[in-house]
Amino acid sequence: MPKDAGIGASSKRREDARFVTGAGQYTDDINRPGQLYCHFLRSDIAHGRITNLDVSAARAAAGVVAVYTAEDLAAVGGVPCGWQVTDKNGEPMKEPKHPILAEGKVRHVGDPVVAIVADSLQAARDAAEAVDLDIEELPAVVSMSAAISGSAAAVHDEAPDNICYDWEFVAENKQAVDDAIANAAHVTRLELVNNRLVANPMEPRVAIGEFDRARDEHTLYTTSQNPHVIRLLMGAFVLSIPEHKLRVVAPDVGGGFGSKIYHYAEEAFVTWAAAQLHKPVKWTSTRSEAFLSDAQGRDHLTTIELALDADHNFTALRCSTLANMGAYLSTFAPCIPTWLHGTLLAGNYKTPLIFTNVKAVFTNTTPVDAYRGAGRPEATFQVERVIDKAARELEVDPAELRRKNFIPPDAFPYQTPVAVEYDTGDYHATLDKALDLASAAGFAARKAESESRGKLRGLGIASYIEACGIAPSSLVGALGARAGLYEAATVRVNPTGSISVFTGSHSHGQGHETTFAQVVADMLGCDEGAVDIVHGDTSKVPFGMGTYGSRSLAVGGSAIVKSVDKIIAKAKKIAAHLLEASEADIAFENGQFTVAGTDRSLAWGDVCLAAYVPHKYPIEEIEPGLEETSFYDPANFTYPAGAYVAEVEVDPETGVVEVLNFTAADDFGNVVNPMIVEGQVHGGLAQGLGQALLEGCVYDAEGQLQSASYMDYAMPRAGDFPMFTVDHSCVTPCTHNPLGVKGCGEAGAIGSPPALVNAVIDALQGGGYAVEHIDMPLTPKAVWHAMAAASPAAAAE
């Protein structure tokens, strides 16, 4: 029986009341009195030296209030990076300055050079035409292999070889892995591309800076997934504004998917400019600017080798990856291909020896950082593709090969050879569930039916694991994070018993206002409607590390639980005093405080009122009021895992791939709101299938992004997908957080690309085409060319 309230109920979202009526308040919906408008003149050249920059005509243009270049920002810091990776020689990564406006050189198309502030957006844009800017072109560094060839230009003088770091993990396993591969019964090798993507939340970025001269207070309204992190980075490292003088507000935010984690130059600029001009300054990104200036995702070139013994046990895995950083280091960029990637290479398997080398490469392209999944999709893709290729080479069932090598359910907690320890999991259960829901047993008959219509049908599977709930602060600190990754929550019980929760997590589509209220209502035995969830404003919320890495419920929710536990403990003391009983005898259930074994009880509201009207109160023992703040620092990551099955049909005439069915069986641990969890999986699947089939950044040799608008970047549309089958009934609860939850936000984007590619390879090989791999996106052109190069006739020879 589905529950109708509290933990486990598919409560309808309270957020929707404003979003379906047009009453949401996104940052661009905010207009401050007297505000000015900002437009950035961006480089249209990928790499070049600024030889002439004259803004005098722009300054004189109608409506223009001020025009700024890097010279004006001499006292302002660069955009900081939040994670330092140490390379294989113990040296820190190369960390060149990322100026707010280009200083002398431009390093990617879209690099901001001039900022124009005017009394209307049109005036600011028009004035950009009057800027006299000459850029002497330098050779553009675009492809990663060319960038590190030794003959390329340097993107930054600090990194003449264009290598940010050269990282090895697990370094002490290197020789053992080499030996195992040299002595293996079978080695499967695969070279692959993890295609570069643009996150494309539907709401473009917006930033409004404001300065209250009388109070010496700065405010930034911004489209952020983590307003406190922006306050910390911008206040401490860029503008030197102490926290108590800087408020950052991230109101309704229209999606993020990682791209709104980072501190961006535009945020710092409008905050700074507002203080210069004593007027609010607003910048709204166009979609075209977003393609050039939002941090992009993925972009790995990888070689992976899997060694197996004669019984098909995995004995070693060796990977080598080039990871694109783009032109500057975005906030979390260095940790994505390292600690969020190398540590996941064990996947769901007991492979004993793993070694990876990652070279992070500077190029004259837009910066690259986390995008939904962030490192884990790249790890999963290579592992699940190479396993599938091994199964085909060895002519064994891909599911059986996986089962043979799965970490067995009785082996948890399981210490992997790549640092992380999985707490719980049952990978057999999710694979069996996915194959069952996908009716894999009936696939042969469906394939025959497709063949009768001249179509090639394929079934592909992928298992995945991810590390979520990021993260134990001491651990990430040791790995180079320049911040802690706990979460904070204040729970304020108001005098009449209603509850205000202030969370450092930030909702930009995840439905926290509903889910967190369910948790609190369940614990306090009250209506969900009595609980208000406040987020997204540094002036209201005590602190917060924000929302990314599927961490909100596992970390932010746990902080809320801790505070509610403290509230209940204090309320019991008050109730004991009022009921003239021992605190140990007070039971709290369904919103009632009862003296055990008696009929004496007090309602929740009576105790709350007593806390604020402490006439009869244990004042010697406790303070009045009922409000508690907690910081929750997790003991470990959480490890959601699952298995996905894709069923596709390929048209051999055109190379068009149709997704017929897609089945996801996930183990997210306990689930608070099944409706919301399923929605998260749907969205993740669409992004993963978008990566596999449609999306990809294309830079030309000059560093121009060819796929820089919705005319050219293939966003997934409703017609690209079937209805998805999703299941979260396989549950192994997380053992180290109070709700037993693991996180569900990224899974869909992690597990779906390999399942889809495996299905297409299955279809092609089943049709007699000796195609071993196709790089994503699997466009009709890519599939058609792969088939043409491996025609059935050629395969038969």
């Binding site: 929707d16 996104y26 539907m202 709401e203 935010v253 929605g679 997934p716 409703a718």
Partner: protein, 162 residues
């Protein structure tokens, strides 16, 4: 600057606009109806869909000045007269057809036009109709479900009324 007058959600409005002012700019900045969103600059995403004289239009593709005398309906005009959610709005909420909510106004306005043209769309017809509306959050799954459910609700209401 020239002045334009139109009816928006049943109320007569007028304002000065430049020749280049788009309908969506007039709605958002001219008369403060910020429910209509701007998600792109190439008329692909559909976050700005409104109705002009009863048909769905991307408000980023028309100049405000060209709509003198027009009847415009936006997401702010889609609730029932008593303030309760309209059938499509309620279906989006009931079926979790939205997450971040940014594409939602355009989705609902687009769906409303579909359902006035086709009272019984198939799943395929709904998906095809939404070609000009992007959503990055939902994978479209629950949007399609919501629109099919709204269609059924509207047919049910019609039967009940007859």
């Amino acid at each position: 600057m020239p002045e334009v007058s139109m009816t928006v959600n049943g109320t007569a409005v007028s304002g000065e606009v430049e020749g280049r002012t788009l309908l969506v700019e007039f709605l958002r900045e001219g008369i403060g109806l910020t429910g209509t969103h701007v998600g792109c600059d190439t008329s692909q995403c559909g976050a700005c869909v409104v109705h002009v004289d009863g048909a769905s239009v991307k408000a980023c593709t028309v100049f405000a000045m060209s709509l003198d005398g027009a009847e415009v309906k936006t997401i702010e005009g889609m609730a029932n007269p008593d303030g309760s959610l309209g059938v499509i709005q309620a279906a989006f909420r009931e079926h979790h057809g939205l997450q971040c909510g940014f594409c939602t106004p355009g989705m609902i306005m687009s769906a409303a036009d579909l359902l006035q043209q086709n009272q019984s769309p198939t799943e395929g017809e709904v998906r095809e109709w939404l070609e000009g509306n992007f959503c990055r959050c939902t994978g479209y799954h629950n949007i399609v479900k919501a629109i099919l459910a709204a269609a059924a609700d509207m047919r049910g209401q019609q039967v009940a009324a007859e």
